[in-house]
């Protein structure tokens, strides 16, 4: 993607909290119109990256820019919407009042009704915040994040603690926002969330981006494929083949992980004429993610040993 569409970036940013290195020279760019997912284990530096881009903290080293300005400049922040992981809103205020006060901070806000429609909370507007369920509260926070009609939305773990249907409803709202031209930065540790929403995924570990690309590209990083079938060949036999990483019976099916799927399938078919329900799949984002973090940990360990 060209430089011209960049609306926010971290460049060679270091940040320490006491003895803990939260960010270790991270580079990150956010482009207009995309949904970028920041993925990584807890403590990897996702939330620190976001809080630097929001101007909550200053980088020890490196450049942080938001619409070409310092994020601590209020004019830059008038173009963003924010949903934080851990914000308890005033319990006695009504949903309508919460959205209205947030909208008042912006030059071209959405109307309360419009926010409520997008977030799917039109029936909650006159309820007090404290009387809402966890899922409803998250949707209210989402409505507040889009109240300013922002060009860029920061959603920090937006669906933590939501049940499946609430999560999918929020995903649908996020997709419709991106379709209408907003950019979104999303942190999550749910892989299926990144898979469902993201145009681009950055995997962060130990304060750096260790992998970056589309969901497909990320998955292609991983050469492991998964073979599922019904076969009478015992798992121990298959596991002993040199091409096979692992093999086991799962819910009546044989599940084989291998980097040489074609060779394994050929061998299976040759010895078991009754083999059925054969499936070969590329690994999901979950496997890709595990593999990438493991690779980078191994590299790191090697580096430290050297």
């Amino acid at each position: 993607m060209s430089q011209d569409t960049c609306i926010a970036r971290l460049e060679g940013v270091h940040k320490r909290y006491g003895a803990v290195t939260a960010l270790d020279g991270i580079n990150l760019t956010i482009h207009r119109g995309e949904l970028l997912a920041l993925l990584g284990p807890n403590g990897a530096g996702k939330t620190t990256s976001i809080s630097l881009l929001l101007g909550l903290h200053r980088a020890d080293q490196g450049t942080v820019s938001l619409f070409g300005k310092d994020p601590q400049d209020i004019e830059a922040r008038r173009r963003i919407g924010v949903m934080l992981q851990s914000a308890n809103l005033p319990p006695t205020l009504k949903v309508r009042e919460l959205i209205r006060v947030t909208a008042s901070y912006y030059p071209n806000p959405r109307s309360v009704a419009e926010c409520a429609t997008i977030a799917g909370i039109t029936d909650l507007l006159d309820r007090r915040y404290v009387a809402l369920s966890g899922g409803q509260q998250r949707r209210v926070q989402f409505a507040m994040a889009l109240a300013g009609n922002p060009e860029l939305l920061f959603l920090d773990e937006p669906t933590v603690g939501l049940d499946l249907s609430a999560r999918q409803a929020l995903w649908a709202s996020i997709r419709s926002l991106v379709a209408s031209g907003s950019s979104v930065v999303l942190t999550t540790h749910y892989l299926e969330e990144a898979e469902a929403l993201a145009d681009r995924v950055c995997v962060i570990a130990r304060g750096r981006v260790i992998s970056e690309g589309t969901v497909d590209a990320l998955r292609a990083h991983v050469s492991v494929r998964r073979i599922r079938c019904l076969t009478s060949v015992p798992a121990e036999t298959i596991a002993a083949w040199p091409e096979v990483d692992t093999a086991s019976q799962q819910q009546g099916h044989m599940v084989i992980a291998t980097q040489h799927a074609e060779a394994v399938v050929r061998r299976l078919l040759a010895i078991d004429a009754d083999l059925a329900e054969l499936e070969v799949q590329r690994a999901g984002l979950a496997e890709a993610f595990t593999e990438i973090t493991r690779d980078s940990e191994a590299a790191n360990a090697a580096q430290e040993a050297a």
Partner: protein, 259 residues
């Protein structure tokens, strides 16, 4: 700098910025008006104390008792909305991440404090009005319209000194520990400033250190307002202003550092 980054930033008109302040203040006031646990003690403590000690008991002792204690309990009454309204609510907002969210949002920088200040001024007006009514109709204290108005303005503006002290306390304590810390300042200061017992009956040492407490200076100004002052009002005004500015500076420095 590239093209998109430098495209025109949307501009807030002065009217819109003003509206942000109004909305923030409105939300803050509504938030606490719906919280009887904050509202009732703040209003009832000083008025019940005044009714018991200032009107029922003091009436038998001296004719001027109710008048003298109007200043004491009036001052005691406006300390609470400032100290608790700022101290405890700031500590809770910090613990709950609300302050972090507001700092990330493009809220005009002063709106948060102005909102809380409006809340404290409003509560102080209510408490002061309540005390004036009790004094007039319960204690039979005769005040001219000018005296009542001066007393009202003095007490209501006096809350600002305690707002800034509360702000400082709110940056020192987090969440649940804040009410304790605030009480630790509130109650001893009320006592040491002579709000419960007149300073004249207190040990010399306590009399000597009374000018160290903002509440003492507000009490002296309130006494002057209702015709029982000992002069030197400007000293008390300067002292209060200095306390307010000092606490505010310290609090701002701590907030900038720790958020």
């Amino acid at each position: 700098m590239n093209i998109i980054e430098s495209t025109a930033t949307p501009v807030m008109s002065t009217g819109q910025v003003f509206n942000a302040y109004v909305q923030e203040a409105r939300a803050e006031v509504l938030r606490y008006l719906r919280l009887p646990g904050f509202l009732l003690p703040t209003m009832l403590f000083p008025s019940v104390f005044y009714l018991m000690f200032g009107i029922i008991l003091a009436h038998q002792n001296s004719p001027d008792g109710a008048r003298f204690l109007l200043a004491s309990y009036g001052t005691f009454g406006v300390m609470a909305p400032g100290l608790f309204g700022f101290g405890v609510s700031l500590a809770i907002d910090r613990e709950h991440g609300l302050l972090t969210l507001k700092r990330a949002l493009p809220m005009p920088p002063g709106a948060y404090l102005v909102g809380k200040m409006c809340m404290a001024l409003m509560m102080a007006s209510v408490v002061t009005t309540l005390m004036l009514c009790l004094a007039r109709f319960g204690g039979g204290v005769q005040l001219s319209a000018g005296q009542a108005a001066t007393f009202f303005v003095t007490e209501v503006l006096g809350v600002l000194a305690f707002c800034s002290l509360g702000l400082l306390l709110g940056t020192l304590a987090k969440g649940q520990s804040a009410p304790g810390l605030v009480n630790l300042v509130y109650l001893p200061m009320a006592f040491l400033s002579g709000l419960w017992f007149p300073l004249s009956v207190m040990p010399k040492f306590i009399q000597a250190i009374a000018p160290l407490w903002p509440a003492y200076h507000l009490d002296q100004l309130a006494l002057s307002a209702i015709g029982m002052g000992q002069g030197g009002e400007w000293i008390h005004v300067v002292a209060l202003a200095a306390f307010t500015a000092g606490f505010l500076t310290l609090a701002a420095r701590r907030l900038a550092r720790h958020g």
